[in-house]
């Protein structure tokens, strides 16, 4: 029995615009709206729409055909912003017909390397948007660039996932076959290893006319899959969704190939298509795989050298994560979002120098003339963000100072017992000294004088909301006291 897992990954980054050193602190927008839309339009037209249509037809036609996918938050957002409901509806149909959605980081980031907290938050964000859009709660995880290590396995299992996708490379397998289900070292998380030979036959070699197997036909490919009967259980075909129509153009015949390949594979009665979740239920883990290093599906090195191969990339990544604390403390939703978009791994990929000298292989994906331009541009933007965060902090400090300071003459709080408070600290002290009746005079079913004064005169909305409905003297004192402490921390 051979169970084929056909899994596609959908991602588009937010590309940044040309951002010169002179643009820092000028309030210039970071994102290249035009280019992002241009590329999205093209990919939708050439790949997302025609390919999802084909997949739906195939699932209708062949009961045993199934497809799984993951989709990053960044491309999902862009699809929604640009009203590509047709693509999203198609993906929903695929899910409704039994397709599985796999979780990942919302921002296609390398956060797991730098901040466990941020990684978890992004995975949670992704899980939420998938629940929202597809009504599906993923139980399988795939990390950015299929990165896996023992440590990541532990982290992901703790987050409640049952399985993870990884690269089925010799570095991990050490002569074992990728055609079985494995599990992580010392954990129960199941690992599905990509069959990179068969996957790359489609993803990279399909239109490579110098390849000895060129041209690749559906029945030939099906034979290769069927050959696993008797010596394997799963054939994991994992690739970029854009393989169909974008990386491999329509003209290469890739979409025709896709239309025919399920039929050819299913001709063999022992073959079937299943989802990752079905696979880990159906098959036992053959054994543990020990991955004490970082492995990925990228390049021949199967590592992260395309993102972290040089000092510029390391520095840029280090710099963006160094902002985490300040950005999060700002509590400014907008700043946090900008910061997260700057974590998209593509930004760092554009700074890769390892192919630059010897040609254009990766140029297609790179909007910059040189990796150095990519670095300079990115660092300028990061500096702008850093300044914005700093300003936000200054603003917070100013606001805190203002709340704690004395109100203008004539706007003081006059207590029924004749006492006067010029600021919230004095207010708190005087409240303490109030008798039960005096307190009731100010706070009762019909009014809350303290709330009004704090809201209208002091201008502290946060505190006023907290005591608005409170009728207990002790609790009001507690709230004011806590607020004073918080504000003092900000100064």
């Amino acid at each position: 029995m051979v169970s084929v897992i056909f899994y596609l990954h959908i991602h588009q980054p937010y590309r940044v615009r040309r951002y010169r050193i002179f643009d820092i602190c000028k309030g210039k927008y970071y994102w290249d709206i035009k280019k992002n839309k241009e590329i999205l339009d093209r990919v939708v037209r050439k790949s997302y729409l025609p390919t999802t249509n084909i997949l739906i037809d195939l699932m209708k036609k062949y009961e045993k055909f199934k497809v799984s996918f993951s989709i990053t938050g960044t491309v999902l957002e862009q699809l929604m912003e640009n009203k590509y409901n047709n693509v999203i509806d198609n993906l929903r149909k695929i899910v409704d017909m039994g397709g599985e959605v796999v979780d990942e980081t919302y921002y296609h980031s390398l956060s797991f390397l730098y901040s466990e907290e941020e990684f978890k938050e992004q995975v949670k964000m992704h899980n939420e948007i998938i629940n929202d859009v597809f009504g599906y709660d993923p139980k399988i995880f795939r990390n950015t660039e299929l990165v896996y290590s023992n440590e990541i396995g532990k982290m992901v299992e703790k987050m409640g996932y049952k399985g993870i996708l990884a690269e089925g490379h010799e570095k991990i397998l050490k002569n074992k076959s990728p055609a079985f289900i494995y599990k992580g070292k010392d954990i129960n998380l199941k690992i599905l290893l990509r069959n990179y030979r068969l996957s790359d036959d489609i993803a990279f070699r399909f239109s490579l006319y110098t390849w000895e197997e060129f041209p690749l036909t559906a029945d030939k490919f099906a034979q290769w899959v069927s050959a696993y009967n008797g010596n394997g259980e799963v054939v994991n075909l994992f690739m970029d969704f854009e393989t169909f129509g974008e990386h491999q153009w329509h003209e290469t015949g890739i979409l025709e190939f896709l239309k025919h390949v399920p039929k050819e594979i299913l001709k063999h009665k022992d073959n079937e298509f299943i989802t990752p979740s079905e696979a880990i239920r159906k098959y036992k883990a053959k054994e543990e795989v020990d991955v004490p290093f970082i492995s990925s599906w990228a390049d021949t090195e199967r590592d992260l050298s395309a993102w972290l191969g040089n000092d510029m990339q390391k520095y840029a990544l280090h710099s963006v994560y160094a902002l985490e604390k300040d950005v999060k403390e700002s509590n400014n939703k907008y700043l946090i979002e900008e910061w997260r978009k700057l974590q998209i791994s593509d930004h760092f990929y554009f700074m890769c120098t390892k192919w630059f000298a010897d040609g254009d292989v990766h140029k297609y994906f790179n909007p910059y003339e040189t990796p150095y331009d990519a670095f300079i541009n990115y660092m300028n933007i990061l500096e702008d963000l850093r300044e914005r965060v700093k300003k936000e902090k200054v603003n917070e400090r100013d606001a805190a100072l203002k709340i704690l300071s004395d109100v203008p003459l004539g706007k003081e709080f006059y207590f029924v017992n004749g006492k006067i408070a010029k600021n919230i600290k004095e207010l708190m002290i005087e409240i303490k000294n109030l008798s039960r009746n005096e307190f009731k005079h100010h706070v009762n079913r019909n009014k809350n004088d303290f709330y009004n004064w704090i809201k209208d005169v002091v201008g502290d909305d946060e505190l006023s909301i907290k005591i608005k409905k409170v009728r207990s003297k002790a609790q009001i004192i507690r709230e004011i006291n806590k607020r004073i402490k918080d504000l003092k921390e900000k100064i």
Binding site: R20, I21, M312, A316, T353, Y372, F375, I376, M379
Partner: protein, 381 residues
């Protein structure tokens, strides 16, 4: 090999190229004789008996300055020492060489072209012209001196093959002189760097941005100053060091005052090559080559060898071989400034470029170039 300069007496890249190329050719086994105005003072063993010195007494050639001579040729009766020199060189060279046994004439730049043509006429041997710069480049984009331009044009037409030091120069020959592009091959200059690379200067009080070269209009040093102004507005602790002399010196000093950065710019005057490598490169953080037009630009290769990151003008031949240098249009001073600031600000970028240019420059050797030249020799034989 016909040349009018040879180390140590050199004013530009030509002499170095003739020296390095001939040396490598000799090592490979090509019999090379070099016709020079005078016997050079360096005592390289390999050149023993290979130098044909044409003038008995020392002649001072000086710098050929296209802009200066442009007007003067219109009135041919004036003092034309440069043109007199060319006439003399041609006469003596042909006299001495016409009866020698050789297979190829290889002439470097217009001063030796008439001698090359005359020798070809007499001996019927193939003539290769090696073009380090054209009059068009030297005049900074204008036609330049009509007489020189015409010498070049006629030589290009009548020779057997042209070697240009960059695609930039090749393009000029094809476009400005109307020469068939198949006649022109490009052999980029190279560098065999033997000098010891000194340690970087530690604990400088500020970062240093450097220019090294002649202070002429063509070299675009005025753009360097304009960029320097923007750099100092965006990066506090920085100084600019200008090494070299030339007719633009006074203008440039005035310009630095006008821009309000005079206190940050130091003009060092002429400094010899050893000194530049030993004391200046280690002191700099960035080297800028802002030329309006630079047929090649050996200095960038030298800096790369010394692991000094370079920002080079896209209008330079050297930008064709240094992939990892930062490149700018010479007139885009904002871009130039931004790249300089980034190199000062981000150690990671500076290091990465150091590492990568250093690696690629080591592949640009005279051994390779000599083989390319031999291939061209075989074509004309």
């Amino acid at each position: 090999m016909l040349s009018w300069e040879f180390p140590p007496e050199i004013v530009g890249g030509l002499g170095v190229v003739v020296y390095e190329l001939s040396k490598k050719l000799l090592e490979i086994g090509v019999e090379v004789y070099i016709a020079l105005p005078v016997n050079p003072k360096n005592g390289d063993e390999i050149f023993k008996d290979k130098i044909i010195s044409l003038f008995e007494r020392e002649v001072s050639v000086g710098v050929y300055d296209s802009l200066r001579y442009m007007k003067e040729t219109r009135a041919l009766s004036r003092d034309l020492s440069m043109f007199e020199f060319v006439k003399e060189y041609t006469k003596k060279c042909v006299e001495r060489c016409k009866s020698m046994d050789f297979d190829i004439i290889h002439a470097h730049d217009w001063i030796t072209f008439p001698a090359g043509l005359e020798l070809k006429r007499i001996t019927n041997k193939p003539l290769i012209l090696h073009v380090h710069s054209t009059e068009f480049d030297r005049a900074g984009g204008g036609k330049g001196n009509e007489y020189v331009h015409e010498i070049e044009r006629l030589s290009f037409l009548n020779c057997d093959k042209i070697i240009a030091v960059s695609n930039l120069v090749k393009e000029r020959i094809v476009k400005e002189y109307g020469i068939d592009e198949n006649k022109v091959s490009v052999v980029h200059n190279a560098i065999d760097f033997n000098a010891k690379v000194p340690q970087r200067t530690q604990n400088k009080p500020y970062k240093v941005v450097m220019y090294v070269g002649r202070l002429s209009w063509m070299k675009g040093v005025d753009f360097f100053l304009k960029a320097a102004k923007i750099v100092s507005d965006n990066y506090k602790n920085v100084r600019f060091v200008i090494v070299g002399k030339g007719e633009m010196m006074e203008d440039l000093i005035n310009e630095s005052i006008r821009l309000g950065i005079a206190d940050k710019v130091s003009f060092e005057g002429y400094v010899n090559r050893e000194e530049v490598i030993k004391r200046y490169y280690p002191y700099a953080d960035v080297l800028v080559v802002p030329s309006r037009s630079e047929p090649f630009g050996l200095i960038a290769l030298e800096a790369a060898h010394c692991s000094l990151p370079v920002v080079i003008s896209k209008q330079s031949g050297v930008s064709e071989v240094l992939n990892h240098a930062l490149k700018v249009d010479y007139w885009d001073v904002e871009d130039m400034a931004e790249k300089i600031v980034s190199l000062l600000k981000y150690e990671a970028l500076n290091k990465e470029i150091q590492k990568n240019t250093n690696k690629e420059v080591k592949e640009i050797t005279w051994q390779r170039k000599a083989n390319e030249v031999i291939k061209i020799y075989k074509e004309v034989l």
